[in-house]
């Protein structure tokens, strides 16, 4: 947040020089930035304080302190819950939005601590993820009724925790996550929160990846993983292709599509990497095919990032490319003959891809208006 403001300050100088922004207008922009900076830091600290308060409430519960009766402990947390939401409204009324967000987060945390206290009081072992689901629903409610992005973020994280836990316990894909996820994503959209797109897509990608990892562990690492990882890759690839099509046809959604493509490619490459990592060493041909597909897809991602002017996608592609090459380097250190053969093939592929990347790079330079 601070860095983007600093960059804007630098940009302002240039824009005044170019005559795009009047000196008066620049002054007004600077004044607003300055006003935003102070409370921004204070607000961030307030959110951290709320997180600390939440952990304090949870360890208070965990201590199972006998100095207060169960009823008194429950009433104490109940008072904390009402106090937090009351404080949030009072702070919002004073225009201290981020402080109010922090108070809402404290309320959500106390709600979670209360669930834990009750399940401790009555020795409810049950199905622990269900407690997390209730917590997530409470956070979602707070996010919607109080229009709080922080509470919705907590809801998204808790929903993922719930579903990941269910999948780890059950060893099967937990589709019940999707309606809850959709409700949270819709709430983000309704609030018009810019960070909502990132959080929604990140939790969805996290869910897909956790699901496949849980399945792979349940079915046995070296036997049952192949189909699941391949499906994961296909879902991710379909996501990238879908995002590219949306970006081409609907320019208004181009930025959102690029974000979606970023997370979808993460899913796709995760699947491909799992396939390569878990591949028994003997099947070299399959490994080469997988590596070639991975590298080709990474180059395609970089190319599209350049063409559409999405710098983040270019960096994602470069990072993935480096990881893949590094992985191949370590992975092929088996027998010397295999290593030699593998590097020959890999080097040919990489040379071709490098030539292709160079051409795309030149293409990008020849059309400066589309450069990122």
């Amino acid at each position: 947040m601070l860095t983007s403001q600093n960059r804007l300050r630098g940009d302002l100088e240039r824009w005044i020089a170019k005559g795009w922004v009047t000196p008066g207008g620049a002054e007004a922009i600077r004044a607003e930035l300055a006003a935003r900076r102070g409370p921004g830091l204070a607000g961030t600290l307030a959110v951290l304080a709320a997180v600390l308060l939440g952990f304090s409430a949870m360890s208070f519960v965990a201590a199972n302190w006998q100095g207060l009766s169960k009823l008194m402990r429950l009433l104490l947390l109940g008072a904390g819950l009402w106090g937090a939401y009351g404080l949030a409204v009072a702070l919002a009324a004073r225009g201290l939005q981020r402080f109010a967000e922090a108070a809402v987060l404290a309320g959500v945390a106390i709600f979670g601590a209360s669930i834990m206290l009750i399940s401790q009081m009555y020795h409810i072992e049950g199905n622990p993820p269900e407690a997390v689901l209730l917590w997530a629903l409470g956070a979602l409610l707070a996010g919607v009724l109080l229009r709080s992005v922080t509470a919705l973020t907590a809801a998204a994280g808790l929903a993922l925790l719930w579903s990941a836990w269910m999948m780890t316990l059950g060893g099967s894909v937990h589709f019940a996550f999707l309606p809850l996820w959709a409700a949270i994503a819709l709430a983000f959209h309704w609030l018009g929160a810019a960070s909502g797109l990132h959080i929604s897509l990140a939790t969805l990608a996290g869910w897909l990846i956790t699901g496949v990892v849980a399945l792979a562990i349940d079915r046995g690492i070296y036997t049952g993983y192949t189909t699941h990882c391949a499906v994961l890759s296909l879902i991710g690839t379909a996501g990238v292709v879908g995002a590219a099509m949306v970006a081409d046809r609907m320019p208004r959604l181009r930025a959102a599509a690029a974000v979606a493509a970023g997370y979808a490619s993460l899913v796709a490459f995760w699947g491909l990497w799992m396939l390569q990592l878990l591949e028994p060493r003997a099947d070299l041909v399959r490994l080469i095919v997988l590596a070639a597909i991975t590298l080709a897809m990474l180059v395609a991602l970089v190319a599209w990032g350049w063409r559409s002017g999405q710098r983040a996608l270019v960096w994602l592609g470069y990072a993935g490319f480096s990881i893949e090459i590094l992985f191949l380097y370590f992975r092929t250190l088996g027998t010397l003959l295999n290593t030699s053969l593998f590097f020959l093939v890999a080097s040919l592929i990489v040379t071709c891809l490098a030539a292709l990347a160079l051409r795309l790079h030149r293409h990008g330079q020849s059309t400066p208006e589309t450069r990122p």
Partner: protein
């Protein structure tokens, strides 16, 4: 960002109320179960203290969690975590033992010597297809530092857990019984 709208006080109250009601509902549900449910007493095997989110607790290992292959009921294709209804019957010696297990609640009324408990499938073992289930009665939360104390007791004496069961098979821990004496009797709230 929180919007300062006309009804924000109402909205905050609604959030707090809904969350309080959700918490209250669990408490009332438990109190009902503990007060009205049928009381059964089950033996417990040695336990060890562990620490988790909710603080120190001891694991209660219930012998009735093992359902021998000879007990009639569901065996094939049971998934981990799946709900099972286990019928417990009291024998002449006064001990409860599994008499049937199935996906659906069994017909017939519970009696003094026959209760149905909802359980979750854990795993199947052996060629005899013995089932291992969890009743949700396996954790007993204790004040910080008390776990070891309780563990010592359990090693030497006969420990039992007192359980309340309702007509739908829901169960809750009422307290621990050591050498026939009720200790750690749980107040309702």
């Amino acid at each position: 960002m929180i919007d300062l709208r006309k009804r924000i006080w109402g909205a905050a109250a609604a959030v707090a109320l809904a969350q309080t009601l959700a918490l209250g509902w669990i408490v009332v549900d438990r109190i009902q179960l503990l007060r009205k449910g049928q009381e059964i007493v089950l033996p417990v095997e040695p336990v060890d203290p562990r620490s988790l989110f909710r603080g120190d607790y001891v694991i209660l290992s219930l012998p009735v969690r093992r359902i021998p292959g000879s007990v009639p009921g569901e065996r094939g294709n049971l998934k981990r975590g799946e709900a099972l209804y286990v019928t417990l019957e009291r024998n002449a010696a006064g001990d409860w033992a599994p008499a049937a297990a199935g996906r659906e609640p069994p017909k017939g009324e519970p009696s003094r010597d026959r209760v149905v408990l909802k359980a979750r499938m854990h795993f199947v073992s052996g060629t005899a297809k013995d089932l291992d289930v969890r009743y949700g009665l396996e954790s007993y939360f204790v004040p910080e530092g008390k776990g070891k104390e309780l563990e010592k007791l359990v090693g030497k004496r006969q420990v039992q857990v007192m359980v309340a069961v309702d007509r739908n098979g829901n169960s809750a821990i009422k307290g621990l019984v050591i050498d026939g004496k009720r200790i750690y009797d749980e107040p309702l709230i």
